[in-house]
């Protein structure tokens, strides 16, 4: 190669090296971090589809995918670069934070709650430089603790969110999680019986929402803030104040899309606190002012308002009108027929009530209200000593349910109808079949959300009536696992201890 050519080549190589070495590596870092976080998300999502069948290798691969990102882009380094004004550092931190959160979620999916909570807390603290990530980790931790029933820790986590994070970011965009936090805390304190604490938290929340409202007028956050203000005031018992908050939302142009829902909420709140006349006005507005969408819900509220104002016949007419209009909203029809039947029953017009329950069972056989209606019909007769009539109604309902079970494969229908069938058998005194039906359901759906009280009642009946100790023990165990009510749990626990002491 000649000397001039060599010189050209050397110059080209030097230029290439110069180009390789120059330029901002921030964009490349952000791209790499986002790519890593995306791959980690895919790996964790694959496990989340069914954590029970995921192998240890899948878990290790997903964890490694997360660690690649967090290891290559340490939060401390990139927080420092963010503070120094690097334009892409925020993006890198966000992606690395997502990967770190996925690592925590992976622990959660494996059922390791303590490790997951600790990992979320580490992200919360480590990524304080990227407040969005830190807040997201704090929220996930609070939700996790709430989900696993660690109420005190969850309350503390929500309180920390309310205390440590700004309710709006630098651009004035409100952060829903921070706004919700005091409401969670208030609910938790109320559940714990701390009424004085609830009041102070709610008053502070009100001040926070009121302070933010002025800056959010005309923005999408405005109605959301008003709804929270409504919730806070309602929780304090300030019903007129809650209604005022909702009316404030309704008056803002940003609430146009939410207007039907706001009017329905106003009707509900008025019905619960102010009076049926105000509720009626809002319910009519919802039923007639926004087209077919919110009309069924508006009519249902109108009927309730008539009932509350002592005009049950007007309420019955509205329910009838709703059914006759035959909206596509099957839920609304079921609710209208059910409420009409209940009202007729309360008014002593049993024949009409029974007809309505039957019509409901024909129109929506698997609907929970239809199933409840069938149980009510049977109970009505049995409670009045009309055993033959009760058994006839039960026989008719049981046949319909068995046909439904044979024709519907979906799990929720199987569980719902199967549970009602067992209840009907129990009501009619067929204890052994009732216990057997529940045991079969438990065998097929071990984690089905069956009613703990029904399981306990069936267990007691099987224990005393059918003398089947094994079946009773199985039902008691299922009841104990599902019982939320402390009294019921104690009762079932004592029964299980008694069974353990009993000779086999």
């Amino acid at each position: 190669m000649s000397a001039p050519r060599l010189r050209h080549l050397a110059a080209l190589v030097a230029l290439a090296l110069l180009l390789v070495g120059c330029g901002d590596d921030g964009l490349w870092a952000r791209w790499s971090a986002e790519r890593g976080a995306w791959r980690a998300r895919r790996a964790v999502e694959r496990i989340a589809l069914n954590p029970d069948v995921a192998s240890d290798r899948d878990g290790a691969a997903a964890a490694a995918a997360c660690s690649v990102v967090t290891g290559r882009f340490p939060a401390a380094d990139w927080s420092a670069r963010l503070a120094a004004g690097s334009p892409h550092a925020a993006g890198v931190l966000e992606a690395a934070g997502r990967a770190a959160m996925l690592r925590a979620r992976l622990e959660d999916l494996r059922g390791r709650t303590d490790e997951a909570a600790a990992a979320y807390e580490a992200v919360r603290i480590g990524f304080r430089g990227a407040e969005t990530v830190s807040l997201a980790a704090a929220v996930e931790r609070a939700r996790l603790l709430e989900r696993v029933g660690r109420a005190d820790e969850a309350e503390a986590a929500w309180a920390l969110i309310a205390r440590e994070y700004a309710a709006a970011d630098a651009r004035g965009t409100v952060r829903d999680a921070v706004l919700d936090a005091p409401l969670y805390v208030a609910r938790a304190r109320r559940a714990g019986g701390d009424e004085a604490g609830v009041d102070s938290v709610l008053r502070a929340a009100e001040r926070l929402y009121e302070g933010l409202l002025a800056g959010q007028r005309g923005r999408p956050a405005f109605p959301r803030l008003c709804l929270r203000l409504d919730e806070a005031r309602r929780a304090r018992g300030d019903v007129p104040g809650a209604l005022a908050a909702l009316r404030q939302a309704l008056g803002d142009p940003a609430s146009a899309a939410l207007a039907p829902q706001l009017v329905l909420t106003l009707a509900e709140r008025a019905l619960a606190g102010v009076g049926p006349d105000t509720a009626m006005a809002y319910a009519r507005w919802a039923a007639e002012g926004f087209g077919p969408g919110p009309r069924p819900a508006g009519l249902l509220l109108l009927a309730r308002a008539w009932h509350a104002s002592g005009r049950p016949d007007s309420a019955l007419r509205v329910y009838e009108q709703l059914v006759e209009e035959d909206p596509e909203d099957l839920e609304a029809i079921a609710r209208a027929r059910y409420e009409r039947a209940r009202l007729l029953d309360a008014l002593g017009r049993w024949d009409l009530a029974r007809g309505e329950y039957h019509a409901l069972a024909s129109a929506a056989p698997g609907h929970p209200l239809a199933l409840d209606g069938q149980v009510r019909v049977v109970r009505h007769h049995l409670e009045r000593g009309e055993r033959e009539l009760g058994l006839a109604e039960a026989g008719h309902a049981l046949r319909a349910m068995e046909e439904l079970l044979a024709g519907h494969e979906d799990d929720s229908t199987q569980v719902r109808v199967g549970e009602t069938r067992a209840l009907l058998l129990l009501e009619t005194g067929d204890v052994r079949r009732a216990g057997g039906a529940l045991a079969a359901l438990l065998q097929r759906y071990p984690e089905a959300p069956l009613d703990a009280a029904l399981l306990a009642r069936a267990a007691e009946a099987v224990e005393t009536g059918a003398k089947d100790a094994e079946l009773a023990r199985e039902l008691y165990r299922a009841a104990e696992w599902r019982a939320v009510d402390a009294e019921l749990r104690d009762r079932v626990g004592r029964a299980l201890e008694r069974r353990a002491d009993a000779p086999r």
């Binding site: 390789v20 330029g23 964009l27 791209w31 995306w38």
Partner: protein, 280 residues
């Protein structure tokens, strides 16, 4: 030549060009174009690298918005970005290399051995004319596709399907109208004005054959276009990088289609469109 004869000639031209697919010298212009297009695609794929970001990232941002600078959103925008970049490549390098290919095919169809160096020496001085005579087609094709895109935006069902088909039909007609211009410039040695003056002759003698050639060239591209059009779905459900592989495949198929179209058009030109006395 009657339309029917033109259609028959186009069919023969396609067949003969397919039989020449294994002739290496005929591929040289298209391999050169493929190298340029490949470099453009690679440049786009590596836009975030520090040594490219200063130049390519602003183009990506301008072409597809700030979101396209992020992973995996970039891959949703990649087919569109590449198509736009390719318009420039095709209008400049593609126009010249098509002329080179015409010269090589003409030698082949006349029974002499295609000589790439000699053909390039003959075509290079006409590079500007080649770019300029094909510019109206490139501009009109861009305007047509952009216009159809705007018209069909947000539409669905039968309107979208019929509109899409009409757009494709219009594109084939447009291509047939300008198909023989590179051959007119290279083989007749005409300048820009002379080439446009010869257009009516090419329409009378080769329009129907051009339609057949254009339609045949379009067929292999349709399934790939449809696949690449689903970039959003590919990103959400699969590997985002699959969009890049599909774009690369589209590039390769596009080169084969260009080979077929240029070879066929040159043969039709020699058989039907050319004036024996004009051919230089």
């Amino acid at each position: 030549m009657s339309p029917l004869e033109q259609v028959a000639l186009a069919g023969q031209a396609i067949w003969h060009t397919l039989r020449r697919m294994g002739t290496t010298p005929l591929w040289i212009p298209w391999l050169a174009l493929g190298a340029v297009q490949g470099a453009v695609l690679l440049g786009l794929l590596h836009f975030a690298r520090p040594w490219l970001a200063w130049a390519v990232a602003p183009l990506v941002r301008a072409g597809a918005g700030e979101a396209a600078l992020h992973y995996p959103d970039f891959f949703r925008a990649l087919p569109g970005l590449y198509t736009r970049a390719d318009l420039v490549v095709v209008a400049l390098a593609g126009a010249i290399l098509t002329g080179w290919s015409v010269a090589l095919f003409a030698a082949g169809w006349r029974g002499t051995r295609p000589a790439p160096r000699a053909a390039w020496a003959a075509v290079a001085p006409r590079a500007l004319a080649l770019v300029l005579v094909q510019l109206p087609f490139n501009v009109l094709a861009f305007a047509l596709s952009a216009g159809i895109g705007l018209l069909l935006e947000g539409r669905g069902g039968i309107v979208l399907r019929v509109g899409g088909m009409a757009g494709l039909g219009a594109m084939v007609v447009l291509q047939a109208l300008f198909l023989y211009l590179p051959a007119v410039v290279v083989l007749e040695g005409r300048g820009i004005a002379g080439a446009f003056a010869a257009l009516p002759r090419t329409w009378v003698r080769g329009f129907w054959a051009g339609l057949v050639l254009g339609a045949a060239a379009l067929l292999p591209l349709l399934p790939l276009d449809a696949l690449v059009g689903q970039a959003d779905l590919l990103v959400e459900r699969g590997t985002p990088e699959l969009t890049a592989w599909l774009t690369a495949l589209q590039l390769l198929v596009g080169l084969a289609v260009s080979f077929l179209l240029t070879g066929g058009a040159t043969l039709v030109y020699l058989g039907s469109v050319a004036d024996a006395e004009d051919e230089g």
